[in-house]
Amino acid sequence: MPIESVNDFVVRFANVNGSGSASANLMFARAVIRMGVPVATRNIFPSNIQGLPTWFEVRVSGEGWLGARGGTDLMVAMNPQTWDKDVASIEHGGYLFYDCSRPIPASKFREDLTVIGVPLTEICNREYAEPRQRQLMKNIMCLGALAAVLDMDADIVKTLLSEQFKGKDRLIEANHRALAIGRDWALANLTCPIGLRVNKSDGVGDRIYVEGNAAASLGAVFGGATVCAWYPLTPSTSLAEGFTSYCKRLRGDATTGKNKYAIVQCEDELASIGVVIGAGWNGSRAFTATSGPGISLMQEFLGLAYFAEIPAVLFNVQRGGPSTGMPTRTQQSDVLACAYASHGDTKHILLFPRDPGEAFEFGALSFDLADRLQTPVFVMLDLEIGMNSHLTAPFKWDDSRRMDRGKVMTYADLESGRDFGRYLDVDGDGVPFRTYPGTHPTRGSFFTRGTTRDAYARYTEEGGPYVENMQRLLRKFETAKAHVPAPLVDAAPGGARFGVIHYGSTAAPMEEATQILRNQGVKLDVMRVRGFPFAKPVEDFISAHDKVFVVEQNRDAQLRTLLMAENCASGDKLVPVLHYDGSPVTARFIARAIAELAESIDARAKEGALS
């Protein structure tokens, strides 16, 4: 039986990269959103520019689940290279949409599938003479045919095309025509609609649809960043590029047209973090965007910034490692590398946004934290958040909010005779005062170095002042607990013996998995950790449960290790649930893993009780 489903199915577009399919695919997703139906979309792409396979997945979810579901109900198979695998991956009773201009042997199909053939190439060759136009219009024609078979509102797609090519009337007209050709052909020659349909709904609300990297870069603009230093590295590149384009729009001086920002594409990641540290030392808000390999290169400098106490913000858009690893696939595998980056005893502040909304929020917040705590702050995105568009609550800003520049002594402070010791803990919170270079002719200057010094920044190699300083840095880290975003808890009604801790992009599939499990009778309290150092509630949450599943997307259970290392819990309490094949973790995976683990824990407990 063909699958029948309204507003709940997965469409997967199999394309060749460089064929111009991406914008048509995105338009398909946006059309569904405009119909009021939530979607979750993902790019699956190779480390290559042209010719290799790429996929775009659209999960249509009337219930609003935003994680990856797994499986495909409708395959739009446009890539002969991957045909066999693509066809094999469709769910039983699913649909196969393809370009039937050339005959494909019957053995290449599956009997349980509904096959939808549209002679796209043939129509295109008939309608268009120019090769590039044939290619681009084919994508739009395909969109028209899909709109027909899925019973979508064609006017919405037309409006989207008009918006996209605003001001270019000829292009709008050409695209509308291609859309109509595809749609008309489908209506005339196919059974429309098929068992999968999109019905108008009100499930989207005022939400926006945006990539995490763009959101984070906008957060940097609103966070007051003026210096961006970076080196191109997938999947972080679009973050720096986003900052560039938002700054062009929002940060030009109204009268002179000059720039209220500086962006430097550096020679490598060492220089990038060096520029950030130099700018931070001199009182600018500065950041870099990078990924795992870049973090590795920055290690020495990160120790300097920690020890010399210089504000710096790093957006780490994590990808599959180690080494070049899986450069275009997602993971959460830099948690430990960032938490303890550099040599010697170091600890760093980490923020874990769940989606573009928090990428914006934490992106802006990170600059306040870096200034307030005078230390590097890592915003831990990943490819799943950064390079995919997600539905998220609209960005919010309170116009009464002001940048928190932290403890900075001004000319007036120094002139009044206030005692200034760069590393002096005057308030007992471990955070000393600093001065910007050039503030006062005779007071407040100091020498910044990575070598040991006393509270007045005077060079010393004595053990006492060194230990005192290292202890103060620990006090400062303690202070940070109150500043990083607090963990959020979704408690099971009536309480639960099992807990779950998760973070970052695991949030969306985890929410769905929680519901699946609760429906199955597995009771869970779920905590989403949003920052490191871990605040007291994290420790309390763990001790309040018999077992806590730590769900993360890496091989070595890095957050679990961090929880243990920071004395939040012992290892026997924390049960790892790990997914790290480079694809985003799904609700199905989490639910199955936790259900099995919970059952075996219960079984063992019963055995223990009987013996």
């Binding site: 959103i33 939400r207 926006i208 649809y209 906008l218 603009v221 609103f222 007051g224 003026t226 210096v227 230093a229 940060r251 002179t256 000059k258 720039n259 209220k260 920002y261 500086a262 430097v264 550096c266 020679e267 490598d268 060492l270 220089a271 990038s272 973090i273 060096g274 520029v275 540290i277 130099g278 700018a279 931070g280 030392w281 001199n282 009182g283 600018s284 500065a286 400098f301 300097l304 960005f395 919010k396 800003w397 309170d398 909010r401 002001r402 940048m403 910007y436 270079p437 050039g438 002719p441 005779t442 200057s445 100091f446 020498f447 910044t448 170095r449 990575g450 005077r458 060079y459 010393t460």
Partner: protein, 351 residues
């Protein structure tokens, strides 16, 4: 012995500059380098130059990497903020500092290990990026703090104290700086204060990347026969292309020179350097000729010193980036935060 403070006592008749400051106001902590180290002479030349230029010390930022030379910023301009960064990475830190506040003077001090080996890339990129700075390399051809290994500027065939000869070709940082587009390039010798002080003054007034390679003998590990960076060797092979007088805007030129003997070079702030030519027909504005001249003399075993190349009004990194006149670190909320209304528009475009 930096923890020993210098006595504050000073003679009432001590010379003062236009700011009413004495030489003592340009000093730093007492040097802990070896007695007779060339680097101390460079520090002294820096203090001298800043004093004579009437610069407020706190408006200078002094940055360095790691090594003997990089320790020196502690020993001059005590009222300036200093940053002893990471080995070979001073150029990137200085670049960032400069981006944050274009109004300060940036003085980068580095060594041959710091700039020609571990930091060769950053040396190159800071120059090609046009950072407005004075970049001084105290060049002694040897790693001092790790006790006497060859550096990348050591000449081929030069020997270490115990006799081992250097098998590798040297890197000439002056030549590199010329190739990379530095708009002010000079070489000097720590033993020639008369040449070094006006060079530093001119470099400070120059707007753009000003590079000075200063040969600075290491008395502990590289001042023996067989070294090409010893005091004796450099003195014997020094080939100055010009002698400099730095003339501030306020002091007009009074002495007359025969035509062809002198070249005047305008600097960014309106002051002038007067070059007395020694090498005949040497044009300090001709980059290609400078490279040829250097190569010719290098083959002959001579060390060319003096102002090798200068470009008038080259512009700097901030000009290229079109940054606003106000230093970026002084922009406030109103300048930087687009606000809720702008955000609402962005939200609307994402639906």
């Amino acid at each position: 012995m930096t923890y020993l403070p210098k006595p504050k006592f000073r003679h009432p008749a001590i010379e003062k500059n236009e700011l009413g400051l004495t030489h003592r106001d340009y000093e730093g902590a007492i040097s802990t380098l070896c007695a007779g180290c060339g680097h101390d002479s460079i520090s002294s030349a820096i203090m001298h130059a800043c004093f004579e230029l009437d610069l407020p010390p706190h408006r200078i930022a002094k940055l360095s990497g790691i090594g003997c030379s990089s320790k020196t910023p502690t020993y001059f301009l005590g009222n300036a903020h200093g940053f002893n960064s990471v080995h070979g990475r001073m150029p990137s830190v200085l670049t960032g500092a400069n981006l944050a506040n274009k109004d300060l003077i940036y003085l980068g001090v580095s060594g041959d290990g710091d700039s020609a080996s571990i930091g060769f890339g950053q040396f190159a990129h800071a120059i090609r990026r046009g950072v407005n700075m004075v970049y001084i390399v105290a060049n002694n051809g040897v790693y001092g703090l790790t006790k006497g290994q060859f550096s990348a500027t050591a000449d081929k065939g030069a020997t270490l104290k115990k006799g081992a000869a250097n098998p590798d070709d040297p890197i000439d940082l002056v030549m590199m700086a010329l190739h990379l587009g530095a708009s002010f390039v000079a070489r000097s010798f720590s033993g020639d204060k008369g040449q070094l002080v006006p060079l530093i003054k001119a470099a400070v007034e120059h707007k753009g990347p000003a590079f000075i390679d200063c040969i600075s003998p290491c008395v502990a590990f590289n001042n023996h026969d067989g070294s090409t960076k010893s005091f004796d060797y450099v003195r014997a092979h020094n080939e100055a292309v010009n002698a400099l007088d730095f003339i501030s805007e306020r002091a007009p030129i009074t002495t007359d020179y025969a035509p062809g003997e002198m070249q005047l070079v305008k600097l960014h702030d309106g002051s002038t350097i007067r070059l007395r030519k020694i090498g005949a027909d040497y044009d300090v504005h001709d980059r290609v000729a400078a490279i040829n001249y250097l190569m010719k003399h290098d083959v002959a075993g001579e060390i060319v010193t003096g102002l090798v190349y200068v470009e008038e009004d080259p512009g700097d990194m901030h000009d290229r980036l079109q940054t606003v006149d106000t230093p970026l670190n002084q922009l406030g909320d109103a300048d930087l935060i687009p606000g809720a209304a702008a955000l609402a528009k962005i939200n609307a475009s994402l639906r």
